[in-house]
């Protein structure tokens, strides 16, 4: 680019004072700084020219040499922009770091169109709205038996959710039309609710089956009988066969979690013989006198010497 007379570039007279020159330079530089005019090549060229002119005129010695004709317009130009420019970064991915304020960085095409207040309606696009995702933690029993819960999405917005009986941990419920507004007359999106089932102190769930450890007395185990057993749907009566033992597992058919097809899983009850707390004097006395005709060794299976020093 042909260099112009520095006085012309800054728009000052030959007799301008240092303060005039500084002021003129600042005024023009603010207007043409390339980082304030990204993508404008003209501003970039103009700014270089301004800097070259200012370099000469702001330095009394250089200005005098120029006035005497010892150096030309380009004589004092130093490589001002050898380093990388802010605009080169700011327009690329690293620039996202310096977004102006929350919500200022438009995310997608819809956001760009929304900036000009038209949604995407004007664009002849018909799209379903966005799906909203939520996580809902439900009680163990509510998951098995089903429940209605109110999900608060925002202070002024809530959603009534019917938790179907038998819902599993991690299952996703889709509530049609409870998501974002449709675009261009498209249908609303859905609300997707991921169910987290809280653990229960007594019951364990494996698939649609329920597992329960049930303490029984020595007499109940030995003699058998009818006992009351908790299930997620309430207590039921179960017959313990005579000669039951700790670890024995009884199945309550159809007492597990319901399945979508209407059938139900089973409940498995693991018996655990529990002796009277603190010892019962009569039982102690009986066992002392008890000389079994058929002695038994419950550790037979463990093998001799195993685990012994």
């Amino acid at each position: 680019m042909a260099q112009r007379n520095p006085y012309e570039v800054l728009g000052v007279g030959k007799d301008a004072g240092a303060e005039d020159i500084r002021r003129a330079y600042r005024r023009l530089a603010k207007q043409h700084h390339p980082d304030l005019n990204p993508g404008n090549k003209q501003a970039e060229g103009r700014f270089k020219e301004l800097n070259a002119a200012n370099d000469i005129l702001s330095d009394e010695k250089k200005r005098a040499r120029y006035d005497r004709g010892e150096i030309d317009e380009t004589g004092a130009e130093k490589p001002q922009y050898a380093h990388a420019n802010y605009r080169d970064f700011a327009e690329g991915a690293p620039g996202a770091k310096y977004h102006a304020a929350e919500g200022m960085e438009p995310g997608d095409l819809d956001d760009i169109l929304a900036m000009f207040g038209r949604g995407t309606r004007g664009a002849n696009l018909r799209m379903p709205g966005e799906d909203f995702r939520y996580v809902l933690t439900v009680d163990f029993l509510d998951a098995v038996n089903g429940a209605k819960r109110r999900l608060t999405l925002a202070p002024d917005k809530s959603l009534d959710v019917t938790i179907p009986a038998g819902v599993r941990d991690g299952q996703i419920l889709r509530l049609k039309g409870q998501g974002g507004e449709g675009i261009g007359g498209g249908p609303r999106g859905d609300a997707l609710i991921e169910i987290h089932v809280a653990p229960h102190p007594l019951f364990r769930r494996e698939g649609d089956d329920i597992h329960l450890d049930l303490p029984v007395t020595l007499a109940e185990a030995q003699l058998g009988g009818k006992i009351s057993v908790p299930t997620p749907a309430g207590d039921v009566t179960m017959t313990v066969p005579p000669h039951s033992n700790t670890g024995g597992i009884l199945r309550l058919k159809g007492k597990g979690a319901p399945r979508p097809d209407g059938s139900r899983g089973d409940q498995y009850v693991a018996l655990k013989v529990v002796l009277p707390e603190g010892g019962d004097p009569e039982l102690t006395e009986f066992l002392r006198k008890w000389a079994p005709k058929h002695p038994y060794d419950p550790r037979r299976e463990m093998g001799r010497g195993a685990g012994k020093p």
Partner: protein, 110 residues
Amino acid sequence: MISFEAVCRMVEGIEPRELERWIDERWVLPESRSEGYVFREIDVARVRLIVELRHDLAIGEEAMPVLLNLLDQLYAMRRRMKALADALDALPEETRLALRASFDDGKETE
């Protein structure tokens, strides 16, 4: 990975105390680590820009956040426009031509 001291060496006309204040004001956002601030290239370029705005162009401390905020908005917009331009470039030629015609029509009526 550029240290605080390195930035002070690299950028002509910056005082450490000044740079610290700019970081406090969140005009520059280096990463804060146990060994001190860590700058990336964009941060250094931004420091250099603020030095120019502050010293060469005499933008006052009061006006600086307003200017930086507007500048950040401008660059955010340009990033999106660039992404949009890239997306438009990837369209089939027929669609691109139709789009261009409709865009140029829109300009004439403005």
